[in-house]
């Protein structure tokens, strides 16, 4: 097999964003296919934990896809932004800059955003605002808990003797969880900025609704052995937003034995196979005309940014905090 080609570019105003581009072997490119744009996981640079995004990019390029891995401003090798945008707004603007560059320099008008953790959150938040986004691959995105999740969580805890001891004494997390979640499942008073926070749930519902409106194909990969314990079954993403009709656009997968970062090689191999299969089989729409919905996106983001400072999102610091 001919080797893929890897090059690096500096992109955007002031050439401040560093983007690594992996291209198919000469003559093997799928010209009409969307470009895959991979986003940072938290403050980890574009290579990814265990080099996972380099390997994925090479596998995709070998199959004919152009792949861009870039660092948000202030992360990895990219320069820190010099404006006053919030961390979240800056990241979303950086995605726009990359898509503008792909369109201007190579004529690509269709992209799939792919990210893990905060990268998944950035992908889905942006996906509804830009007609050039035709797909979003969401690896362990932030997802609100559901009744079934709590049931799984509690059953899991019940199997642990220490949980029983705490429950009997009324001091443990299990006792607290039972009391708070089953007795008041819709209280909406979760920790500020956590998936349990009703304001965050509504924000996420809004961004998924916008992605549906933009006819964006979605891949959701949730993990069950994660330290974050925010998902416990494949359909949780559907149950979390019962008012939305995600099913026609969604492929949902669940890695029961995988950790949040896909640290183990066998999990990454399985993950890459699923991502490739999704990209090759999903019905991504054709390019459509329309302007980037910056104003609506800004309004939406600034609404949630009011929570800035209270929020700590699984190390990703999506909504608040400084990225550098």
């Amino acid at each position: 097999m001919k080797p893929v080609t890897e090059n690096v570019y500096t992109v955007g105003p002031g050439k401040s964003l560093v983007a690594a581009v992996t291209e198919p072997p000469r003559g093997a490119g799928k010209n009409a296919a969307p470009v895959i744009v991979i986003l940072n996981t938290g403050i980890i640079h574009r290579v990814g934990h265990q080099r996972k995004f380099v390997v994925l990019a090479r596998e995709l390029a070998a199959r004919g896809y152009l792949v861009v891995r870039f660092d948000f401003g202030g992360i990895g090798d990219s320069e820190r932004r010099k404006d006053n945008l919030s961390a979240l707004e800056g990241c979303l603007d950086d995605i726009r800059v990359i898509l503008d560059w792909l369109e201007a320099s190579r004529g690509h008008r269709r992209s799939i955003l792919l990210g893990l953790c905060s990268g998944a959150d950035h992908a889905i938040i942006y996906a509804g605002s830009d007609p050039r986004v035709v797909g979003a691959g969401l690896l362990d995105p932030m997802i609100p808990p559901t009744r079934r999740f709590y049931l799984h969580y509690i059953l899991h805890r019940l199997t642990r003797p220490r949980s029983w001891l705490s429950f009997v004494t009324g001091n443990g997390r299990l006792f607290t969880t039972v009391r708070k979640r089953l007795l008041k499942p819709k209280s909406g008073q979760g920790q500020a900025g956590s998936p349990e926070d009703e304001r965050v749930r509504l924000f996420l519902k809004n961004v998924y609704a916008r992605a549906i409106e933009n006819n964006v194909q979605l891949l959701s990969v949730l993990t069950g052995a994660s330290d974050t314990r925010q998902s416990s079954y494949r359909e949780q993403i559907l149950d979390a937003f019962p008012d939305l009709d995600l099913s026609p656009l969604l492929r949902a997968e669940f890695f029961e034995d995988s950790d949040h970062l896909f640290l183990f090689e066998h999990d990454r191999k399985r993950l890459n196979a699923i991502i490739i299969d999704w990209i090759e089989t999903a019905n991504f729409r054709e390019a459509q005309e329309g302007a980037v919905g910056t104003a609506a996106l800004t309004k939406l983001v600034r609404g949630i940014a009011m929570l800035s400072g209270q929020i700590a999102m699984f190390g990703g610091q999506v909504f608040g905090g400084q990225l550098i």
Partner: protein, 263 residues
């Protein structure tokens, strides 16, 4: 900041050049050598900061990914340490060429420091100064520490998975690392080459190790005059931070290095 590729077509290496931001009477240049394995990804941010601090003090700085790591060509399974030492030499030559200097400072963290020390010990005339930041002094000790770090990380990120399961599948630290590379790492012995370090060597330690007593003694017996093993109280940027410390930089260690190289 200028990202670039260098090396040969067979061994294409990714690097980032941070050009000198301040003028100095004499051109100065430094090559930064990254750690290995899971330590690489976490250390990247601190070493970028170090690079920019040195650039602000008049150094051209090149940091790069070894073959089979980061954005460089190759796969982890193909890697041997003799190849990575060649990569460091290629980076030195590249930076000398870019900067029009005859010698560079070589800075390494963890395994990168050990490789830098081995290069410096090979009597190269173009290593003007050497900075060893928490080097792997003994290969077996380093492998043991990596195993502990990896186990802690894997356990932190999963509710019930340990590292044993992955080891049975033939991978180390979640990476497809060959047995040959592990043997290469196990063979590292800095104490045996301490006498060959350049006289201008800074050796920093932020984390005590059992090997430090012998390492300190070997450095103090250096034929060009004693080299100190400096202890600095700081965070360890090569391990994953928790939510409380995420984003913090090892400012004391970086300050000591920049102050020593560019007083």
């Amino acid at each position: 900041m200028t990202p670039l590729y260098f090396g040969t077509g067979q061994r294409r290496l990714f690097g980032v050049l941070d050009p000198a931001q301040a003028r100095s009477s004499q051109a100065q240049a430094a090559v930064i050598c990254y750690p290995w394995g899971p330590e690489y990804i976490f250390a990247h941010r601190a070493l970028r900061y170090l690079s920019r601090q040195l650039a602000a003090r008049g150094f051209n700085v090149l940091r790069f990914d070894y073959y089979g790591s980061g954005d460089s060509a190759g796969n982890e399974s193909e890697v041997r340490l003799c190849g990575w030492r060649q990569d460091i030499v290629a980076a030195i030559e590249e930076l000398k060429d870019i900067s029009d200097v005859k010698a560079v400072a070589l800075i390494g963290l963890r395994l990168g420091a050990s490789l830098a020390a081995q290069i410096a010990a090979s009597c190269r005339k173009d290593v003007a100064a050497l900075v060893l930041w928490d080097p792997a002094i003994s290969g077996p000790e380093h492998l043991e520490v990596l195993e502990i770090e990896w186990t802690e990380m894997a356990q932190r990120h999963s509710t019930y998975l340990g590292h044993e399961r992955e080891r049975r599948r033939g991978a180390r630290y979640g990476l497809p690392i060959s047995e040959e590379l592990a043997i290469d790492v196990a063979a590292i012995d800095l104490i045996s080459i301490a006498d060959k370090m350049p006289s201008r060597t800074l050796c920093l330690s932020t984390k005590p190790l059992p090997s430090h007593a012998a390492w300190r003694a070997a450095l103090e017996a250096h034929p060009g005059g004693p080299i100190g093993l400096e202890s600095v109280s700081d965070i360890h940027p090569w391990v994953e931070a928790d939510l409380e410390t995420v984003g913090q930089l090892p400012l004391a260690a970086i300050g000591r290095i920049t102050g020593w190289l560019a007083p």
